[in-house]
């Protein structure tokens, strides 16, 4: 019970202090709107293309709402030493990290529903396979957040956290099959695509919204879960090694 009080309050504090700040909220709205707008300008306005676009926009909304947010806020707290308070509290590190990531994960999930809501106004989403889409969104949010946590544990300055997040995020836009199929990438880039977790999340979302998945859901989900577990273990390992000196 005592632990849950702590975890709940860490989550609440992060939400209030970081995630629910106006710049972040507007960022979550502007990004999907901009991408959707860009699509319409490029394609000349056909609404039937929305479903093809939706998986990509959803995935990047998650990615942009989570990775750098967590990397930056954790690095910031580490730098001003307030993170020491968490390390000094009588709560196991695993639970602490769960609390720290939960805020970003929730924020990512909320962000992902912005493009989905926009799409719901523009087209018919009744054919979407929500039983695949919702877990995929959750796993994408978890994996992007944990990527942010791993980045935070590897850097010591806020600007480094920002730079490295971008280093991962921007190539992921093009390499993960979000907007065009991986088969269209040059052959030498394809292995890279398969090394990125978002590729599998995007694949499920393509399947869920337009039946266009290339791999089986089972494979996609398994690989995503593996990525989550590996990133979490890696983050805990480097926190124990680098931060508890």
């Amino acid at each position: 019970m005592k632990r849950w009080i702590a975890i709940w309050n860490i989550l609440k504090k992060d939400m209030k202090a970081y995630y629910l700040k106006p710049p972040n909220i507007s960022w979550g709205l502007i990004f999907p709107l901009a991408w959707t707008g860009m699509y319409f300008i490029r394609s000349g306005g056909g609404l039937e293309g929305v479903l093809e676009l939706l998986p990509g926009v959803t995935a990047i909304s998650i990615l942009f709402g989570t990775t750098s947010m967590l990397a930056v806020t954790v690095t910031f707290e580490k730098k001003n030493r307030s993170f020491d308070r968490l390390l000094l509290s009588p709560i196991p590190l695993e639970l602490l990290m769960l609390a720290k990531t939960a805020g970003a994960i929730l924020f990512g999930i909320v962000n992902s529903f912005v493009p989905i809501l926009i799409a719901a106004f523009l087209t018919d989403l009744s054919g979407a396979a929500w039983s695949a889409a919702v877990p995929a969104i959750l796993l994408c949010a978890v994996v992007s957040t944990l990527l942010g946590l791993s980045i935070a544990t590897a850097v010591s300055e806020v600007f480094e956290a920002q730079t490295i997040s971008n280093f991962f995020r921007f190539p992921m836009l093009f390499l993960c099959g979000l907007f065009f199929p991986i088969e269209q990438l040059p052959v030498f880039l394809r292995p890279l695509s398969y090394a990125l977790p978002l590729t599998y999340g995007a694949d499920i979302l393509h399947g869920a919204f337009s039946g266009a998945n290339v791999m089986s859901y089972a494979l996609d989900f398994s690989i995503l879960v593996l990525f989550c577990a590996a990133l979490f273990a890696l983050s805990l390992f480097s926190i124990r090694r680098r931060w508890i000196l």
Partner: protein
């Protein structure tokens, strides 16, 4: 302030802190080199040493922010290496930086810290209010911590350190960088906490602070404890001693030999900055001394009586000139 942990009698035999062979190396720097000490329950223990002596590294190992290379730590009988989280529940930590959340208010910061220890909402609010009152921060309760002055930040950080009413409180240089009034206020608060039964482990490089607050002191230099003793025993050799301090317009060390030869019942210490310290079992003959120095062609700028203090002992034991400790200049008569 009811804490079941604290209901335990103070005279219990398990020490509050027991440390053996504690060592820590950072690359080529041996920050802490085989430190042993024990702090009894309810004791006020001081760790006194110059910059880089290993004070913060020791505190970090005792509180779980650093992993010792070797050695054992027991906190109130709990083995730190085996049950770090159980030990952390018993301790409060005020680090060398005021590390609360700049974007939260003073009140929110305290409530958040209380939540980290699993306190329920009603208790959190009450405790935060109580501490803000106690530390004189009531007016600033709803202002953001980031906008606090240095002294206010320090006070709120100490309040956050005792939010869960810990048995043992670690304080890493709580008054460094504060003005005289704030430092005095903070010392008073710490003294009050000690009086209320909290075991206190304090690091400082202010000798006067250690002398005024602590019951027992360990001198730490270059990662090693040179001596651990009670203030009373440390000051024992100074009983009945009288000290005069002369300031001359030249390196005092050039006169030291001559003085010692001429006044064989006095002991002299001289420093490069022109200070000469004369110590005697009875009154120091000021007139003859001044005359003697001036006969050597050296002008005496000032002569003043000095209360023999822990500083003299520190210099004797460690061989460190106290300038290295950045003595805090404070008018005599300061309380706490």
């Amino acid at each position: 302030m009811s804490n079941p942990d604290k209901a335990e009698p103070r005279y219990t035999t398990t020490p509050a802190i027991a440390v053996e062979g504690l060592s820590k190396r950072f690359g080529s720097v041996q920050a802490v080199a085989g430190v042993d000490f024990e702090v009894s329950r309810g004791e006020f223990f001081g760790f006194l040493g110059p910059n880089g002596a290993g004070k913060t590294t020791t505190i970090n190992m005792l509180t779980g922010l650093a992993r010792p290379d070797a050695g054992t730590i027991c906190i109130a009988g709990v083995d730190y290496t085996k049950q770090p989280k159980a030990a952390q529940r018993l301790i409060g930590v005020v680090g060398d930086e005021s590390n609360l959340y700049p974007e939260l208010t003073g009140f929110e910061n305290l409530c958040f810290c209380a939540a980290l220890y699993g306190m329920r909402k009603k208790k959190r609010l009450a405790r935060a209010g109580e501490l803000l009152e106690m530390f004189g921060l009531k007016e600033a309760a709803d202002r953001k911590f980031g906008g606090y002055s240095r002294g206010m930040k320090r006070k709120l950080t100490i309040a956050a350190g005792i939010i869960h009413d810990p048995q043992i409180l670690f304080l890493d240089e709580p008054t460094t960088g504060l003005d005289v009034a704030s430092a005095r206020q903070i010392r008073q608060l710490i003294a009050d906490l000690h009086r209320a039964g909290t075991t206190i482990f304090l690091t400082t490089h202010y000798i006067e602070e250690a002398e005024r607050l602590c019951e027992r002191i360990a001198f730490i230099v270059d990662g090693r404890i040179i001596r651990t003793d009670t203030i009373a025993s440390l000051l024992q050799p100074l009983q009945g001693k009288q000290v005069m301090l002369f300031e001359v317009e030249r390196d005092g060390r050039t006169l030291c030999g001559k003085l010692a030869a001429a006044f064989d019942n006095l002991a002299f210490d001289a420093f490069s900055d022109g200070r000469i310290r004369a110590e005697a079992a009875g009154p120091v003959p000021v007139g003859p001394l001044v005359r003697f120095i001036e006969e050597q062609g050296v002008t005496v700028l000032e002569a003043r009586r000095q209360q023999p203090s822990l500083e003299d002992i520190f210099v004797k034991i460690t061989g460190i000139e106290t300038d290295a400790l950045q003595r805090e200049k404070e008018k005599p008569g300061g309380s706490a």
